[in-house]
Amino acid sequence: MSPFRTVPLGIAAVTLVATLWLAGTASTSAPVHAEANGSPALLTDPQVVGMRRLTEAQYRNSIADIFGSDIRVAGRFEPIVRPAHQLIASGARSSAITPSGLEQFDAMAREIARQVFDEEHRAQFTACVPADPAGADASCAGRTLAPLGRLLFRRPLSEQELALYVRIAGEGAGPTRSFAKGLELALGAMLVSPLFLYVVETAQPDPVRPGVMRLDDNSRAARLSFMLWNSAPNAALLDAAAAGRLTDQPQLAATVRRMVASPRFEQGLRAFFSDMLLFEKFDELAKDPVIYPYFNQDVLQALPEQMLRTITTQLLDGDGDYRELFTTRKTWMNRALGALYRVPVSQSQGWVPYEFTAESDRSGLLGLAGFLAMYSHSGRSSPTLRGRAIRELLLCQPVPNPPGNVNFTAVQDTGNKAMPTARIRLDAHTTDPVCAGCHKITDPIGLPLERFDGIGGFRTFENEAAIDVSGEMDDTRFTGGDGLGKAIAASKDATLCVTSRALEYATGRPSEDGELIERLEGGFAAQGYRLRQLIETIASLPQTYEVPTESIKAGTTLVATRR
């Protein structure tokens, strides 16, 4: 049917094999393998050792950086599911694309391609003037598509790949009588290809340590760029990869140093904390509007942003100590939040810096409405949820789920004058030994935050009863948000936790190397807990690019479903 014959399998096969080949150490034997299509030979060298799906942010940032912020990316992204107690960065390694998910990617791809080659943008992205704007022009299409492909696939296109897309462009240009339309179709094909939607990591043998596989240059460029800038590698990085500079330890270190010093590092750091602090939960956050009239869409949108601004201000402006993230009073305000915090905000639009007063008892991240509202119920605060979140997110200490058959009525009945405060209600609840075990872990670090209601508004009474904010963590006693903040800042588990998260974020797997984490934490401490330094260290660490043997041998695969 139609002039659109589907591309002969042979060519595509050659393409891909060659791709993978070229992605690894240069070789001339590609065609041989191509004929022996899918032969075991492929499984040895070179090697695809991982495919990490782009997150929504990484997809959007890539398109904006490559084609410009005026290109609309409109569509719903299939979420990457977070494995229990892990980062989304790890989930990305095992995230598949469902039919409906692909449908969205396909629609987005076509919409982006349409914009890139529309009247307004065409000139910028077409490398040459076609012989006939109403027909195919293989050479001009090639010169246009090759650089685009390199940016999208984060490595140079092989000749065969380029041939494939040039062919699509040609077959599109004919019947539509438009060279641009052909390019549009070819670009659309690139954007829906697994080679774009997944960061394909390929490995090569480590020359110095026989038997060990390490990521090759192109894969390192992509990993660095997405880890540190949360976007596609730029020309400089791709050049560095092409020149083999990223497998050279000193040059790698130099590159990393430059990247963490760049303003673009903020985008990377924001992505890391959004992942570590489970910001995807903000999408489902809802509050009872009658109980909390100050909670609205504007507030909801401002909550994560306020936390991120607080984080980047503390950790990047002047390279502050990570531990002070739990004690600082410096933050940012906008109009919507101003009312919730009951503070004046000078500007109608945008954000203004703000410093909480000592009386506010708002101490670092845990004093911000974003955290306090997230770990509350829709109509009341929850010392237990807050305590558990602190354990799991900030101290990396998993807390077991409550058993199925628990009676929560006592805790939920906030109107009960006999039990006016959460502390009293919880005490009643935890007389049940089944519950006591876990509540001992969570509640004593959640109760100090009880002066903040279900959306983080300040209060000193609950049901006319004064709120007791004394608490305890790992045998240290304290009171209020300030005390809690200091306790966490002093906890080795907190710095150890962020260290392990940073390493997991870099590699896309939870590290199993406790010694390594402890060693990194030591270095972190030695550098005054400056996170920029820690991430720089991790990003230049040879181990970060080592390929665990398990991903080479065909491992067993579990299939999980959503709960």
Binding site: F67, S69, D70, H121, A232, S262, P263, R264
Partner: protein, 282 residues
């Protein structure tokens, strides 16, 4: 027409009355009062003798003798006359002289009567009118600016005074006849330079300057090490556009204009450009 239909019209004139002739009000093009943004000229030729002169830091239209032109917004005159075009007779005519259209010219615009649409194709809709049209005024055929503003000069005035400008009713003591008069200010038509999609133009300090999509002024200058100026980000894949080229030197690709780095101001005004920065203009 059947009675009930007729009456139906009448009742819905309720709504329409409110709307009649106001459409243009929505367009900045209708806004000459001093306290509203001045709409740019649409580039259509001036009436014979009309020219533009600098007046203070603004530019105004004048007649051949250099007398400043004033606009009288017809939409503010309904209380005095159902056809506001005929407002300025008798006393008003003592003080204000209509800018007469050339003899023999025919009116091509009129104030929308009541609520019925201007079906009559001899007259154009003031909302869609070009800068200069001719109306049947109290002093004969006269010019109208941007569909709504009857054009006058101050009778007997020497060259180019602009007294009473902007006294458009906000001033509690303004005389009822003064309050609707405003000098016709001139803003040239916006240029259409070949520039990337993220670049627009804005009228800053009497001339057009480049701005980003949010209207923030673009500027260039020597940016010292770790300065806080925000460069204008460019697409990595772009091969540039005329005088606009993409620099891949830094960590993030950025636009350059005529080889100069381009930075984004904090907001619309020239005041938002830091010292040492020069506003970029087409």
């Amino acid at each position: 027409m059947r009675l009930d239909t007729g009456m139906a019209r009448n009742a819905s004139l309720a709504a329409l009355a409110a709307l009649a002739g106001l459409g243009a009000a929505s367009l900045p093009a209708s806004a000459q009062p001093a306290d509203l943004p001045i709409a740019a000229a649409d580039g259509s030729p001036f009436p014979p003798g009309v020219r533009v002169r600098k007046l203070g830091n603004a530019s105004v239209y004048t007649d051949a003798k250099g007398k400043v032109l004033y606009g009288l917004d017809m939409r503010t005159l309904l209380r005095w006359a159902p056809d506001p075009a005929r407002f300025c007779d008798a006393d008003c005519a003592q003080n204000w002289t209509a800018l007469a259209a050339p003899t023999g010219s025919t009116a091509n615009i009129r104030y929308p009567a009541g609520f019925e649409k201007t079906a009559d194709d001899r007259f154009m809709d003031p909302r869609k009118a070009p800068d200069w049209t001719v109306i049947d005024g109290a002093q004969g055929k006269q010019w109208v600016y941007k569909g709504w503003h009857l054009v006058f000069t101050r009778a007997g005035a020497k060259a180019r005074p602009a007294d009473g400008d902007g006294a458009d009713g906000n001033d509690a003591d303004a005389d009822a006849n003064e309050r609707r008069w405003n000098t016709l200010k001139y803003v040239p038509p916006p240029p259409k330079p070949a520039a990337p999609g993220v670049v627009t133009t804005a009228f800053v300090d009497g001339a057009y300057a480049f701005a980003d999509r949010e209207g923030r002024v673009l500027f260039t200058g020597k940016c010292e090490r770790d300065c806080a100026w925000r460069p204008l980000p460019a697409p990595m894949a772009s091969s540039g556009l005329g005088e606009w080229q993409v620099s891949l030197a830094g960590d993030a690709p950025e636009w350059t204009f005529k080889g100069k780095r381009v930075f984004v101001g904090a907001a619309g005004g020239s005041g938002t450009v830091p010292s040492g920065g020069q506003i970029l203009r087409p």
